[in-house]
């Protein structure tokens, strides 16, 4: 049973999988340019690169979704042809897609059984499938209930179903496409435990990510891709985060941008004991008081769901305030509509950029005037001035380095980073007095993240008051002048940057005052 070349699932292991000189051309783009890549049993090989660097293309070729124009794939030294996912599954290659390929209305067992021949012919054999799932779950320490409906599961559990699905189909080598993008820090830890066990058992794993600290933590080797070309492969132990970042972007990356001196001249935005409800009907904010000065970035830290969304929405007029007052440059804006708040020159970079930031099916140019479309020069007495809108769009595209085929391209066809640049351009160009930025770099690659942060700092230098809501503690620490920690709809404390350490903020985020080391809020 425990032969050297057999996995715990009973499947023969893949000692070495090698991709040689893989080239893939798309019209006008060389997506993969003679790339070599290999994975061995028992290792995590991380594939790093900016969006569009060719990571997905390479892995889609390995999984049989794309066909390479040149190059070959060798499995344990033997050349193989992978024409479709059916082939790759047969060879023992599994893929965990970034967007889960699960049917929420079906049970775990049904999702696993889908598409497989049944031992009972035309009838499903879910009992047998469930038994095998439990076996695999036991072997790989993946807690899962085969009879649970997928919609009832948390994101982390759904990911486990995906892993089980691949193992059930006999995967010896697993490609994990940005598996941590949707997970909470705790779920990431759990995933890493599972990944470590799988490599100990002889599986080979490909881990795609652009979160450097995760790559450094989990991988044995790292390959960096840029613009479709392989930059290099190194053992993880021989490389630093800084080197990796520079490699990926192709130039020096600054993790801690220069913030310059603080100059709090006036309180631009003041919240006095603000309260509001949440979508679940429970209190969202419970008496929040804070102020954001001109020329400062106030970071709002906290574990997801402690009132961050509600805070952004009350200030921008999107959510009804049930108590307290909000002042913008000394004038009461409590209860004003979003349009009225906009007129007072407050800009908003929303958390869900695809849902709230842009209209997906509108062009770049149209998205760029969403906030000001009723105003001169973009329109006059209800008629749009198309020439001015186009000129405006071209100007912003150049100024904010938006990578788009044209101003008429639909927003949904841009990459995440470029969509965020469209939002940034629209919100910043109007020279706002206050900017509310909610999770502004979530899901962006290093280059785009750096750009967004630079822009926020630039606004701060210009004297704009910036409220930065982020669940990324590194980001909060890198950009903020002061940091307010939200916990259950209240401000636990406001800490100057100089006094803020991750440990201190972590305790506050958990609802504990460091001085007292005891929970303050029930």
């Amino acid at each position: 049973m425990t032969e050297a070349n057999t996995l715990p699932s009973g499947r023969t292991r893949i000692d070495r999988l090698e991709m040689r000189g893989i080239t893939k051309r798309f019209p006008g783009v060389l997506a993969s340019d003679h790339v070599d890549f290999d994975v061995q049993a028992g290792e995590v090989h991380a594939l790093l690169g900016e969006n569009g660097a060719g990571k997905s293309t390479l892995m889609k070729i390995l999984y049989g979704l794309y066909h390479p124009d040149e190059g070959q794939i060798l499995l344990n030294g033997q050349p193989v042809t992978i024409a479709s996912p059916t082939d790759s599954i047969r060879l023992g290659i599994g893929m965990i897609h970034q967007h889960f390929m699960l049917v929420p209305t079906l049970t775990v067992a049904e999702n696993v059984a889908l598409g497989l021949p049944s031992s009972r012919g035309a009838l499903t054999d879910l009992d047998r499938v469930s038994k095998r799932i439990l076996e695999l779950a036991e072997i790989y320490s993946l807690k899962i209930d085969p009879s649970a409906y997928v919609w009832q599961l948390s994101v982390g559990q759904q990911q486990r179903v995906e892993i089980i699905k691949a193992l059930y189909r006999g995967a010896a080598l697993l490609i994990l496409d940005e598996p941590t993008a949707v997970l909470t820090p705790q779920e990431v830890d759990e995933l890493f435990v599972i990944m470590r066990q799988m490599t100990r058992d002889g599986h080979g794993l490909v881990f795609i990510s652009h979160k450097l600290h995760e790559v450094v933590e989990i991988s044995n080797r790292i390959t960096v891709l840029r613009d479709g070309r392989k930059i290099g492969t190194r053992p993880t132990s021989e490389i630093t985060k800084q080197d990796l970042a520079n490699w990926m972007v192709g130039r020096e990356v600054t993790f801690a941008p220069d913030r310059g001196e603080v100059q709090c001249a006036e309180a631009r935005l003041q919240l006095e004991n603000v309260a509001c409800g949440s979508d679940r009907g429970t209190p969202g904010l419970r008496g929040v008081s804070l102020e954001v000065c001109s020329g400062e970035i106030l970071g709002i830290a906290g574990v997801s769901g402690n009132g961050q969304r509600e805070l952004a929405e009350t200030v921008t007029g999107l959510r009804k305030v049930t108590g307290g007052k909000i002042l913008l440059e000394g004038r009461d804006i409590t209860g004003l509509t979003p349009a009225e708040v906009t007129d007072r020159m407050l800009s908003y970079i929303p958390e869900e950029r695809m849902r709230d930031g842009v209209i997906k099916d509108f062009s770049v140019a149209e998205n760029m005037i969403l906030r000001e479309h009723t105003k001169m020069p973009y329109s006059r007495s209800g008629l749009l001035n198309l020439r001015e809108i186009s000129r405006h769009a071209d100007e912003l595209i150049t100024q904010f380095h938006v990578k788009t085929p044209s101003r008429d391209t639909l927003a949904k066809n841009l990459s995440g980073g470029n969509i965020q640049k469209v939002v940034l351009a629209r919100e910043i160009f109007r020279t706002p007095r206050v900017i509310i930025a909610a999770q502004p770099t979530r899901g962006l690659d290093i280059g785009a993240t750096e750009y967004v942060r630079e822009q926020l700092l630039e606004q701060r230098r210009k004297g704009v008051a910036v409220m930065l809501i982020s669940e990324d503690l590194d980001e909060i620490l890198a950009l903020s002048d002061r940091i307010a920690v939200l916990y259950e709809g209240q401000v636990m404390d406001i800490v100057p940057r100089e006094d803020a350490t991750p440990e201190r903020l972590g305790l506050l985020m958990a609802g504990v005052h460091p001085e007292e080391s005891a929970p303050v809020v029930k």
């Binding site: 390929m101 929420p104 035309a122």
Partner: protein, 310 residues
């Protein structure tokens, strides 16, 4: 007058014809359930029923063979299903609009064929009643449930059969997966196109039987536009039944019983204007749909064409 409705004979009559009248609803709505479960909204059911209805009647009228008539209706329905599948699966047509197109085609075509092939309304001898031994002798119950024709029995057998196929077979699993998340099904090697072709053609075939049940089993006559919106009600019943065969059965019975009631109201000469009486099932359709709309969730991929992302 109202008290006439309460006599035992009349009640048995209302129930018996209610059971009978549910037949076309059941065939059509179960067929539509399969389609919608796989993510295809077929609004052409009415057209498929009309053509099936004519085909069954004409072939039976000419050959005297009821089974041949039924088979022709199934074939006509299946062919219309095939066309619908090609348009929606391969050409990614907007399903609601193409369905209306197929309805209008069936409506016009059945009229044209009727005019050119027959010209006048004829009657035939439809499927005879089949009395189930012993059971049909039970007073009341026997007449209501066990003295019906073969297509009526078939309709009720279809309900558990459909449930079984949808929930207990690998085919059913594929159908449900394709209707909820075709990308997931595709990634596991399930052919979304093949599954949808199957369900749409099955739906068409069953709509053909639904039409035939009117012309050669229940009314034994063909008239222009004789389905009078039953195909559309069948679509509504799928929503009412929350995409479950048993739910569809409940809905079909509710409507056919109300229909039966209004027929008896007219027969007995109860002084309710007949136009109002005829409206009853339709008004009920709207009321029930309004009442149930928030309760149930349609298959996520319903009426969305599937295209693999590259």
């Amino acid at each position: 007058m109202i008290s006439d409705l309460l006599s035992v004979t009349v009640l048995i009559g209302i129930l018996a014809s209610g059971i009978r009248l549910a037949t076309p609803y059941l065939y059509a709505a179960i067929g539509e359930t399969f389609g919608q479960k796989s993510g295809v909204l077929n609004l052409g059911v009415e057209g498929q029923m009309l053509l099936g209805s004519f085909a069954a009647f004409y072939v039976t009228f000419k050959t005297g063979n009821l089974w041949l008539g039924l088979l022709t209706a199934m074939l006509v329905g299946a062919l219309m299903g095939l066309a619908m599948a090609y348009v929606t699966v391969n050409l990614h047509a907007q399903q609601g609009i193409s369905g209306i197109g197929f309805y209008l085609f069936g409506l016009g075509m059945s009229e044209l064929l009727f005019q050119s092939l027959m010209g006048s309304v004829e009657t035939i001898q439809g499927f005879p009643k089949v009395h189930i031994p012993v059971l049909s002798d039970i007073p009341g119950i026997g007449e209501i449930f066990f003295s019906q024709n073969v297509l009526v029995y078939g309709a009720y057998l279809l309900v558990p059969l459909a449930w079984f196929v949808l929930n207990k077979t690998t085919l059913g699993l594929k159908i449900r997966a394709v209707g909820e998340n075709p990308d997931a099904a595709d990634s596991l090697g399930v052919s979304v196109a093949r599954v949808r072709y199957f369900t749409i053609i099955l739906g068409g075939t069953l709509s053909g039987i639904a039409g035939a049940s009117l012309s050669i089993a229940l009314l034994n006559v063909f008239q222009q536009g004789m389905t009078s919106g039953q195909g559309f009600i069948a679509v509504a019943l799928v929503y009412f039944g929350a995409w479950r065969p048993v739910g569809v059965l409940g809905g079909a019975l509710l409507f056919s019983l109300v229909n039966s009631l209004q027929l008896w109201i007219q027969v007995l000469g109860i002084p309710i204007p007949s136009d109002i009486a005829v409206m009853m099932p339709y008004v009920l359709t709207i009321l029930v749909l309004v009442a149930t709309v928030s309760r149930v969730r349609a298959p996520s991929a319903l009426s969305k064409p599937f295209e693999r992302e590259d």
